[in-house]
C-alpha cells in the first residue's frame, strides 16, 4: 500500500470512530463553519495539522498528495476543521516559506498543535475582488509597524489567535506596489473585532478594526513592498484544494446512502466527482513537484464550486420531502452563496482561466 493509501485508511478509521463516539456531527461546509477548537487539538495530537512542514517546526515533512488525501477524508466526513483550516492551508505554508526564524519557531508548532488559529485580513469594504486597492496602512515604529484600517469578511476572527494582514507600506506608482504582509497577534492593543450577522445567524463573518496595532519586525512576512507578488503565491494553496469541490459532500453522502433518485442524476454527480477529485490530485502532484499551478487551481475551483451547488439541486430533485435530507439541504443551501465568492469569485477565476487558455493556444 502506498503511503497515501495507508494514510487514507488511517484517517478514515479514526474519523469513523470519532463520529461513532459522538466527537463530531457531520455537516456541510465544515471547513468554514465547523468550528471546534478541541477537535483541532485532537487532529494536532494525531499529527494531522502541518503535514507538509518540516519536522523542525512541528510538521511532518510529507508531501502535498498526502495532505490532499487527509483533507479529502476530513471533508468527506464533514468534520469540524474550521478552527485550524486557514493556518494549515495557507498561512502556515506562507510562514514556512517567508517567515523569519523567530516567527517560524513561535507559530508553526503552535499551529500544528491546533493552538494557534488564524483568520485572514485581506478584504476591505472597498477592496473585494479588487484586492490591490487595500487602504489599511502600516507605518514604521520602533522595532516594528503600526497597522491602522479596517478589514472585513474575515471568517471566525472573533475567536482567532492570529491574523494575516495585507497592508499598504508605501504608495507606489502602480497600485500593486507598496503592499506588505504581516502576522498580527489578535490580543494586541488596537485590535477590535465585530461580528457580522448573516443568513446563517450570528455567522462566521467579522470585521477587524485596526487602530495602531503593533506588529514586530520579526512578524513581517517576506519583504516589505513585495506583498502583492507574495500573496499571489498563496493562490494555488488557497484555491487548489478539495474543499473547493467537497463543501456539500456530506449532503451527497446522505443521498448516495439512501440510494434514491434517478440513477442518471446520481451517476452524473459521481462521474463528475471522479473527474474533479483527479484534477485536485493533479494539483497536489504538481505542488509536490515544486510548481505553483495557479491556473489549474482556478479551473478546479470554478468547476468544483458548480459541483457543490449541483449537489444541492440534486437533493432537491431526489428527496424533497425527507426530513433528514431537508435539514442537511437547508444547511447547505444557506452556505451556497459563499462558494463562488470566497477565495476568488467565479468572475475573477474565469478571467484567469481564459488567459491560461489563450496562453496555451499560442
Amino acid at each position: 500500500m502506498s503511503g497515501a493509501a495507508a494514510l487514507r485508511a488511517e484517517v478514515r478509521d479514526q474519523l469513523d470512530r470519532w463520529r461513532a463516539e459522538g466527537v463530531f456531527t457531520p455537516r456541510s461546509d465544515s471547513w468554514l463553519v465547523g468550528y471546534d477548537e478541541d477537535f483541532s487539538r485532537r487532529l494536532g495530537a494525531r499529527g494531522w495539522i502541518g503535514l507538509t512542514w518540516s519536522p523542525e517546526y512541528g510538521g511532518h515533512g510529507r508531501g502535498f498528495v498526502d495532505r490532499f488525501v487527509l483533507t479529502e477524508e476530513l471533508l468527506r466526513a464533514g468534520a469540524p476543521v474550521a478552527a485550524h483550516w486557514i493556518a494549515d492551508r495557507q498561512i502556515g505554508p506562507a510562514i514556512a516559506r517567508l517567515g523569519t526564524g523567530a516567527l517560524r519557531r513561535e507559530l508553526l508548532p503552535a499551529i500544528a498543535a491546533g493552538e494557534a488559529r488564524f483568520c485572514l485580513g485581506m478584504s476591505e469594504p472597498d477592496a473585494g475582488s479588487d484586492l490591490a486597492s487595500v487602504r489599511t496602512r502600516a507605518r514604521r515604529a520602533d522595532g516594528g509597524w503600526l497597522l491602522s484600517g479596517q478589514k472585513v469578511w474575515s471568517s471566525n476572527a472573533h475567536r482567532a489567535t492570529h491574523a494575516y494582514v495585507l497592508a499598504r507600506t508605501s504608495d507606489g506608482e502602480r497600485r500593486h506596489d507598496g503592499l506588505s504582509e504581516f502576522v498580527l497577534d489578535m490580543t494586541a492593543s488596537g485590535v477590535t473585532v465585530r461580528r457580522i450577522p448573516d443568513l446563517r445567524g450570528p455567522g462566521h463573518f467579522c470585521e477587524i478594526f485596526l487602530d495602531d496595532a503593533f506588529v514586530p519586525d520579526a512578524w513581517v512576512l517576506g519583504e516589505i513592498g513585495a506583498g502583492w507578488a507574495q500573496v499571489t503565491e498563496q493562490l494555488a494553496f488557497e484555491r487548489g484544494g478539495p474543499e473547493r469541490v467537497l463543501s456539500t459532500y456530506p449532503l451527497l453522502r446522505l443521498l448516495l446512502d439512501r440510494a434514491a433518485g434517478p440513477a442518471g442524476r446520481v451517476g452524473e454527480l459521481v462521474g463528475r466527482l471522479v473527474a474533479l477529485r483527479r484534477l485536485a490530485f493533479q494539483v497536489a502532484v504538481r505542488m509536490d513537484a515544486g510548481q505553483a499551478p495557479v491556473a489549474a487551481a482556478a479551473t478546479l475551483k470554478l468547476l468544483g464550486n458548480r459541483f457543490e451547488v449541483d449537489v444541492i439541486e440534486a437533493a432537491r430533485e431526489t428527496l424533497p420531502s425527507d426530513v433528514d435530507v431537508r435539514a442537511a439541504l437547508d444547511d447547505a443551501m444557506l452556505a451556497a452563496p459563499g462558494f463562488s465568492l470566497r477565495g476568488g469569485t467565479t468572475e475573477v477565476l474565469t478571467v484567469v482561466v481564459g488567459r491560461e487558455a489563450m496562453r496555451a493556444a499560442r
Partner: protein, 317 residues
C-alpha cells in the same frame, strides 16, 4: 515509452496527407483512413511486443488517439486495438489475433452498432466474437461508418473489451475537444470586432475559459481512467461521460466564439465539432451515467468514494 510524441505527430501527418485529396468525398476519406491505419498498425501500441504488438502502455496509445482526433481526423485505432485486445484476452493465438480484421460491437437498444463494421470480419463484445455479416450500413454525423447488426446484444455483465474501447473512445473525444478549444482560444485572441480582439470582451473570454476548463476536466477524468483502466463500473464510464459532456460544451462555445464563419466547410472547425457531436452520442453521457448510478445505488457511498484519485503507480503518494 519515449518518442511517443514523435509517433503521434507522424500519425497525424500521414493521416492528414491521405485525407487531403478527399475533402469533398467523405466516404473516400474514411476508406483511406481505414487503409492507412491498417498499414501503419498504430493500434498495436499497448500490445506486448512478445505478442507481435508495438509495446508501450495504454497511456501511449491514448496519446496517439488524442493527437489524431485533435487534428480533426478519424481513424479506427480504438476499434482495432480493442479487437486485438479482446481476441488475445479470449486466449486466441496472437498471430491470428493480429491478422484478423476484428473490431468492437456496441450494444445499442435492440441492435448492435459496429463502428467501421463494413471493413471488418468480426467484432468482439462481452467475451464473445460476432461475425460482421448482413450489416445495415449507416454513417454518423462525422461521416464515419457505424454499421449495425440486427442481432440482439449479448446479455449485460462485465465486459472488459467494452471497457477498453470506452477508455480509448474517451481519449478520442478529449483530443477533439482539446483541438476545438485551442482553435477557439487562438481565434478569440486574434479576431477583431468593435476595434479590438474579441477576447477582450468578458463574454467571449468566458466562453474561451469554459471550453478550456471542460477539456482540463475531461483530461483529468481520462488520466484517472488510465490509472484504473479495469474499473469498468465507475472510473472508465466516468471518463467517457465527462468527455461526452465536455464535447457538447466545447462545441457550443467554439461555434459561439467563431460566429457564422465557424460553420463553413472552408474554416475546418466543423471537422472537429461534427466529430464531437457524433462521438458523444455512442453511447451518450446519459446512458453511461445511468449505468454508474445503478452501480452506486447498489454499492452506496463507499463504492462511489472508492473510485479515488491516487490509485496511480506513476505518482504513488
Amino acid at each position: 515509452m519515449t518518442g511517443m510524441r514523435a509517433v503521434a505527430e507522424a500519425a497525424v501527418q500521414v493521416l492528414a496527407a491521405r485525407a487531403a485529396p478527399h475533402r469533398d468525398e467523405p466516404a473516400a476519406e474514411m476508406a483511406a483512413m481505414w487503409r492507412t491505419t491498417g498499414e501503419q498498425g498504430w493500434h498495436l501500441l499497448a500490445v506486448p511486443e512478445g505478442d507481435g504488438g508495438m509495446g508501450g502502455d495504454l497511456a501511449d496509445l491514448a496519446d496517439v488517439v488524442r493527437a489524431i482526433s485533435a487534428a480533426g481526423l478519424s481513424a479506427p485505432l480504438p476499434e482495432l486495438h480493442t479487437g486485438v485486445f479482446g481476441t488475445l484476452a479470449a486466449g486466441r493465438d496472437p498471430a491470428a489475433a493480429l491478422a484478423g480484421r476484428i473490431g468492437v460491437a456496441l450494444p445499442r437498444g435492440a441492435e448492435v452498432a459496429v463502428p467501421w463494421g463494413r471493413h471488418l470480419d468480426a467484432a468482439v463484445v462481452a467475451g464473445t466474437t460476432v461475425a460482421c455479416a448482413d450489416l445495415r450500413p449507416a454513417v454518423n454525423l462525422a461521416h464515419e461508418p457505424v454499421d449495425t447488426l440486427a442481432r440482439p446484444a449479448p446479455d449485460g455483465g462485465p465486459d472488459p473489451t467494452g471497457t477498453r474501447w470506452r477508455l480509448l473512445h474517451a481519449a478520442r473525444l478529449v483530443g477533439a475537444a482539446e483541438g476545438a478549444a485551442r482553435r477557439t482560444a487562438a481565434y478569440a485572441a486574434t479576431r477583431e470586432q468593435f476595434g479590438r480582439p474579441i477576447a477582450r470582451f468578458q463574454a467571449v473570454a468566458a466562453l474561451v475559459a469554459e471550453a478550456h476548463a471542460q477539456t482540463v476536466l475531461a483530461a483529468a477524468a481520462l488520466d484517472a481512467a488510465l490509472a484504473a483502466a479495469d474499473d469498468g463500473a465507475v472510473t472508465v464510464p466516468a471518463a467517457l461521460a465527462t468527455a461526452a459532456r465536455a464535447a457538447g460544451v466545447v462545441a457550443r462555445c467554439a461555434h459561439q466564439v467563431h460566429g457564422a464563419i465557424g460553420v463553413t466547410r472552408e474554416l475546418g472547425l466543423e471537422r472537429l465539432t461534427r466529430r464531437l457531436w457524433a462521438w458523444r452520442d455512442l453511447p451518450t453521457e446519459h446512458e453511461l451515467e445511468d449505468g454508474i448510478g445503478r452501480v452506486v445505488r447498489a454499492g452506496g457511498e463507499a463504492l462511489a468514494w472508492s473510485a479515488g484519485p491516487e490509485i496511480d503507480v506513476r505518482s504513488g503518494g
